[in-house]
């Protein structure tokens, strides 16, 4: 499937809901059962769950940043976070999992390693808040994966190709869609949430300091989770994107292509090119063992 509009047409034609349509299509493509597809998503969710607290462990050693997830945990225990308790918890989980990734821990790339904290952050904080019944979380992840599929098909999920909008931006759109589905929204509202998210991160650059997945990546994961909640709220409130979601994805690709190479995962632009960014990179280069020529 190449577009969200194609999906809406398929649903209407076959009289199925969004989840059923996604599962049917994937099962047909892979020649397996729909149960098998959903089980695969449930397995991924459990792997994510296991890495949830890894980034708060003392043996985690990112090369540049400190462990930030415990700070967010203490803060939200002490007072009501301004951004809301669910957002703050999502941020804590996202920081933790992204830190785990930077420290050579095990993660699920969702859709990429650089954006691996966002979906688990949003999904598990929502779960703690809403106490859902059944396997609603696996369903949400399936819907998220479908949104990622369309972005991969029409645009890209690689920072080197499309900037961070294609990684953390895509993860945010996927998470927003999952939230709308889990809250009982319609397929159209799911897609509106994805469109609203992507429109507000359009142009986000990929500018890793020293080329490492740490600065600004980890905190960007911890920050952009909040966007998913707002997009879901707006979509559930009935707010619609004037530009249809398929066209928004196309524009993401166009914007990505027009970003100069320095802003596409080369570590040569954005915050990586600041004096502090360059100093960190130089210091790290010194501490790396040298290769024989």
């Amino acid at each position: 499937m190449r577009s969200f509009s194609e999906m809406l047409a398929y649903m209407e034609e076959n009289g199925v809901n969004l989840l059923e349509a996604i599962l049917e299509n994937e099962a047909a493509e892979l020649e397996c059962s729909t149960d098998h597809v959903l089980q695969g998503m449930a397995d991924r969710l459990e792997t994510m769950r296991r890495s949830m607290d890894d980034g708060t462990r003392k043996e985690m050693h990112p090369k540049i940043v400190e462990l930030d997830a415990p700070k967010m945990r203490r803060y939200r225990m002490e007072r009501d976070p301004l951004s809301g308790s669910i957002s703050a918890r999502a941020s804590e989980i996202a920081l933790s999992i992204s830190t785990c990734n930077s420290s050579m821990g095990r993660v699920v790339a969702a859709p990429t390693a650089g954006s691996c904290g966002m979906l688990p952050g949003v999904l598990f904080s929502w779960e703690e808040h809403q106490n859902p019944e059944g396997n609603l979380l696996s369903e949400g992840l399936t819907v998220a994966a479908f949104i990622g599929q369309i972005i991969a098909e029409r645009a890209t999920l690689a920072g080197a190709e499309g900037g961070c909008q294609a990684e953390c931006g895509a993860a945010g759109a996927m998470a927003a869609g999952a939230l709308v589905w889990m809250e009982g929204g319609s397929a159209d509202q799911v897609f509106q949430a994805a469109a609203l998210t992507l429109k507000s991160i359009l142009g986000l650059v990929c500018d890793p300091v020293a080329g490492l997945v740490e600065v600004p990546c980890i905190k960007r994961n911890g920050m952009l989770v909040s966007l998913a909640f707002m997009a879901a709220d707006m979509a559930l409130a009935g707010i619609r994107s004037v530009i249809p979601v398929d066209e928004v994805v196309d524009s993401l690709y166009e914007v990505g292509r027009s970003l100069p190479p320095s802003l596409r995962e080369t570590g040569r632009g954005g915050v990586a090119a600041t004096s502090t960014g360059k100093a960190i990179a130089a210091k790290l280069r010194e501490s790396a063992p040298s290769l024989e020529g």
Binding site: E26, R44, Q149, A158, G211
Partner: protein, 224 residues
Amino acid sequence: MSLMEIIGPVMIGPSSSHTAGAAKLGNVARRLWGGDIKEATLYLRGSFAATYWGHGTDRALVGGLMGWHPDDDRIPKAFEIASESGMIYHFKEEFVDGAHPNSVRFVLSDGDRTMEMVGASIGGGSVRIQEIDGFPVDIDGELPTLVIFHRDKPGVMASITSELFRMKLNIAQMTLKRKARGKDAMVFIEMDGALDEESLKSLEGFHHAYTRMFLLPPAREEIE
């Protein structure tokens, strides 16, 4: 891309291209080699050479050479475990015109034989094997693959394919290349099914025109 590819792979961080892809390349090299590796020299190219340390590319490559997969928790400790097991490894940098920015050349040896393999990490944890013993190839390492070096002469391909037919193995993709007429040639055959040990032996003794043969067995069955 499948839904499992979008939400995946499960991997040791931090980078799908520089860590997960590197582990996979090492793993493919080991499978092609066909056993424990005594000594390996790894020539890093491009971005692999520039940022290997920060991404753990070196540890992932060594872990892969020990047969580990990209989600193996032991990758951060790959050097320590390799040293304990007696595997010797060296890292070097090399500059090759037109090389893929994330690529590496492996030279594996055990005293009796050597093998050289060039592979690239092409993004999202996927890899391409680009060269085996100086011959250009294009193998993604997902399917069982037979690599046969032989002397260019009539009937070699027919003998290989008829043997595969006898084993009821379907060929997914096949490429034949030669250096010059009547000289060294090489074929790589990606198959839907795996050869078992016995079939491999029968193929080994099958034709005197073979000089060398490698089998890339399938990776482990995916956990999912």
